[in-house]
Amino acid sequence: MKSEQLAWLIRRHGVEMTHLSKGSHIGAIFSVADIMAVLYADILKYDAENPGWDGRDRFLLSKGHAGAALYAALAECGFIDREELKTHYQNGSRLSGHVSHRVPGVDFSTGSLGHGLCVAAGRALAAKQDGKSFRSFAVIGDGECNEGSVWEAAQFANHYRLDNLVCIVDYNHMQSLDFCNNTLEVNMAQRWAGFGWNVIEIDGHDHNALRAALQSTANEGHKPTVVIANTVKGKGVSFMENDVLWHYRFPHDGWEYNCAVNELHAAMPEGVADPYTPDGCPEAQPEPDGCRHTVSETYHPTYYQREVDCK
């Protein structure tokens, strides 16, 4: 499957999973969708028939709240059944809101931020000691970079020259309550460079750029690599983009769900079938109150302006 197709399916599954489960984090699922798609379509070595294959690249999604994006990728790559995606958040399911290692293809559970990069560094170090050639990947969030443990890991990985470690920052510029720069000033690339890493900054929705950045991360200084993937939170559905409300809100029945699905359909790549609504949804009218609860301009009118002010 092409990465563009996989990315579309991750977004479509993401809409369905959060819709059915009334679950959060659609914004993060959309921002990380292209990263996940390129990793699973073109970069990671894995064997869906044998998830524990020792030669596999190690991957963990440290921003565990975007778990639906990982589960969707695993379903499309043959680790789990597509039907199982509908059990997300449900009683008795394996698919918890945050990433669970009970799911085939997942080695490590996350959900509390700032854990993943440390663990990925440990795996990279073990690979070096044992002469194994796999790479250890971690996708982390930009808000997650508030956590001190991320920088503990950053120091460690540089010191031990873990050039088999790849950290991808899903830099969607937003965190739980506000834009990152309004929360704690970021200086993302400078920080990682200051910690000694091999820094690559790209457009995180450009698949060619992602492939080019991730194909080989070998470098002369044997440094760990960070790919700072500039993304848009909620990317793919206009009214969810750059809107902190969609860190929490799920696409409700009616206008929200139908519009989200139809916007995805308008950008559907060739060779993909929508498993839920093959022909899209009927057009729906916005609610009479102007969907005050659907977009953050009315939800919290100052966000956009404050990000601009900050710069």
């Binding site: 290692h101 080695d107 490590f108 559970s109 996350t110 959900g111 509390s112 700032g114 854990h115 990069l117 440390c118 663990v119 990925a120 560094a121 440990g122 795996r123 990279a124 170090l125 073990a126 690979a127 000691q129 044992d130 250890s136 001190g148 443990s149 503990e152 890991a153 120091q155 460690f156 010191h159 031990y160």
Partner: protein, 309 residues
């Protein structure tokens, strides 16, 4: 105790190249024999315990048997969530070693008093909590936990503790060991302790016998899983059980015994000796602070004596 453990770790590491020791920049003069003997199985992760513990989990996921090492509360409370989420939940073979359980670093101040660690670690599912009472128990415990597979907390005292449990040759996680049988006096009590307060407790038991109180003494190097059989057996035969720990009385060893005793329905009265739920702001040596909070031999004797007044 700590030197015995490091000696045993060196032996283990030489036998198995998958043994790894990661320190949080501590162990000057203690870990040297280790890093000189097996330098390729040693990492100093710097003063960064969260990362240290996450790295340990990552290495253990790759098949290593990892020991993390630091002092006081740094390898436990500072990175409790990494122990919970990254190690215990994933059932990885990470063994957290704390040197300085209780008031070992007494005069260094409250930050260095490890007095709630047993309670915190005991509350984590899948984590065994081992607090050896003397160097014999400690040396045997290291070997046992390396083989046990899961996540374990090993709480040590310092260096130079007296050997009390001299006849012990086989260490089983979850088993209490009898130190002495009660003499046939009219007044009798059972005394349990965990960790390095064993030495002080043994001294108290000597004094109690001189006062005409027969004492059946046990060392509980494992707090979790607690030895229910021994507790049940003792509870049937005694009217008084005393627990002694160099730890807060909330949630620790005494609590573990209390939970078991309460479910037995025996008439035995349980007396928990430990730190009576306060932070110790006093400055002093371990011996001094033990006396202040009521777990020196003298104070243990006082507490037991009162039960027979």
């Amino acid at each position: 105790m700590r030197d015995t453990v490091i000696r045993e770790l060196v032996n283990l590491a030489k036998e198995d190249k998958n043994i790894e020791l990661i320190t949080g920049d501590l162990g000057f003069g203690v870990l040297r024999p280790y890093w000189e003997s097996v330098p390729n199985q040693f990492i100093n992760a710097g003063i960064a315990e969260q990362n240290l513990t996450g790295v340990a989990a990552g290495m253990a996921l790759e098949g290593k048997t990892v020991f993390t090492y630091s002092i006081a509360n740094f390898p436990t409370l500072r990175c409790l969530e990494q122990i919970r989420n990254d190690c215990a939940y994933h059932k990885v073979n990470v063994n957290v070693i704390c040197v300085g359980g209780g008031y070992v670093y007494g005069a260094l101040g409250m930050s260095h008093h490890a007095t709630e660690d047993i309670a915190c670690l005991r509350a984590l599912p899948e984590v065994a909590v081992i607090c050896p009472g003397d160097p014999i128990e400690a040396g045997l415990a290291v070997r046992a936990i390396a083989k046990s597979g899961g996540t374990t907390y090993l709480r040590l005292g310092r260096g130079g503790e007296k050997r009390i449990n001299t006849s012990l040759t086989d260490f089983v996680i979850g088993k209490a060991y009898q130190i002495r049988k009660a003499k046939d006096f009219s007044k009798k009590a059972a005394v349990f302790s965990t960790g390095a307060i064993l030495e002080e407790t043994a001294l108290a038991c000597d004094m109690l016998e001189e006062l005409g109180i027969g004492v059946e003494q046990y060392s509980f190097p494992t707090v979790k899983p607690i030895d229910r059989e021994t507790i049940a057996d003792v509870a049937r035969r005694f009217d008084h059980i005393f627990t002694v720990e160099e730890h807060n009385i909330v949630g620790g060893f005494g609590s573990a015994v209390a939970e078991t005793v309460a479910e037995l329905g025996e008439r035995v009265k349980l007396h928990r000796l430990g730190i009576n739920d306060f932070y110790c702001a006093e400055v002093g040596t371990q011996a001094y602070l033990r006396d202040v909070v009521g777990i020196s031999a003298r104070r243990i004797v006082e507490s037991v004596g009162k039960a027979f007044e």
